[in-house]
Amino acid sequence: MLDELEALYRVRLNEFRRVAAAIAGDRELGCDAVQEAFASAVRKRRTFRGSGALEAWVWRIVVNAARDARRRRPTPPEPPSASTNGHAPTLPLDLLTERQREIIFLHYYADLDYAAIAEALAISPGTVGATLTAARKTLRLAYEEVRA
């Protein structure tokens, strides 16, 4: 079990860090959250029942650690939004709910399918699909408004 956790850490570290950084709103906090999450997984590894995928179990711990890191910040950060020099497209993530943002991050940064996202967030795959569709629609409308 410890070997499997280490292998998961080494293979998927970049994805874990990107999702955690996006949720926490800070790269350093995201990295620290991943370290803490894996430490927690190592401590609790005997409680893993094996009924689901180990990776999904770890994702849930990482997401929770990133949420905690975000809450512990002295001043809550603005939800991340992507913009560059004014000519590049903007992604108004602040229009999304926390759950929508987390699903977007898990889908794009970790390339998780609906079932894995559902397991990581303890929701149903149907909810993942509906939430992702709604989030994309919100972002597309906002993007079209900006372009108009």
């Binding site: 410890l2 280490e6 850490y9 080494r10 570290l13 970049n14 860090r17 990107r18 950084a21 996006a22 790269r27 995201g30 990295c31 370290q35 803490e36 894996f38 430490a39 927690s40 190592v42 401590r43 991340p80 939004s81 992507a82 560059t84 590049a88 497209p89 903007t90 992604l91 993530l93 977007i104 794009y108 940064y109 994309r136 972002l139």
Partner: protein
């Protein structure tokens, strides 16, 4: 959208630090060499009482008529406990046994056939062709048997169930085979 997401949180180039994870977890990883040493130590602890028992008692449970200078044993594969002891029968042509510290006796040598006791499922034959065996319950469950031949003055082939049979009364038959897999003896039980 992919392009925007890529820019939102750029990829991380810094390598991970698994040792930091373990430090935070509050435990140190057990290295393979240490693990091997631990396994050897545990095995020694597990076997030591068995050897001590054998040396102290010369084969616990064997009848007094057994020749304790020539004891053979069968160990359980997992915990290495003695599950069967056999020895020559002093003053007779035959052997003495003690199985699972539950049953013991001495039996004369016979020309053919096999004898089965239960519980525990244990038996013997003086047919030295026997190399393997299998028990079958009335429910159709097949139970592999451990078969051992003890040479010298003991000169007997014994067989016993490797795994526990839930209801020994439901044992239907035992089939003993030679090295080629050919049936040598088929023993029905009641």
């Amino acid at each position: 959208m992919n392009e925007v997401m890529e820019r939102l949180v750029p990829r991380f180039d810094e390598p991970g630090d698994w040792d930091d994870v373990l430090r935070r977890a509050g435990g140190r990883r057990v290295r393979p060499a240490l693990l091997a040493a631990l396994v050897v130590a545990l095995a020694a602890v597990a076997v030591a009482p068995t050897l001590a028992g054998l040396l102290r008692h010369g084969g616990v449970g064997l009848p007094d008529e057994a020749d304790r200078t020539n004891v053979g044993v069968v160990l359980a594969p997992v915990n290495r406990k003695v599950i069967l002891e056999v020895a020559p029968w002093r003053g007779h042509t035959g052997f003495c046994y003690a199985v699972l510290h539950a049953r013991a006796g001495c039996v004369p040598r016979k020309r053919s056939g096999a004898v089965i006791t239960k519980p525990a499922l244990f038996g013997w034959t003086f047919d030295d062709r026997v190399r393997s065996g299998e028990a079958t319950t009335f429910g159709g469950k097949r139970v592999p048997l451990t078969v051992r031949h003890f040479g010298g003055r003991t000169d007997v082939t014994v067989f016993l169930a490797r795994s526990r049979i839930p209801f020994p009364g439901l044992l239907r038959r035992v089939v003993l085979r030679d090295a080629a897999g050919k049936v040598v003896l088929r023993v029905r039980t009641r």
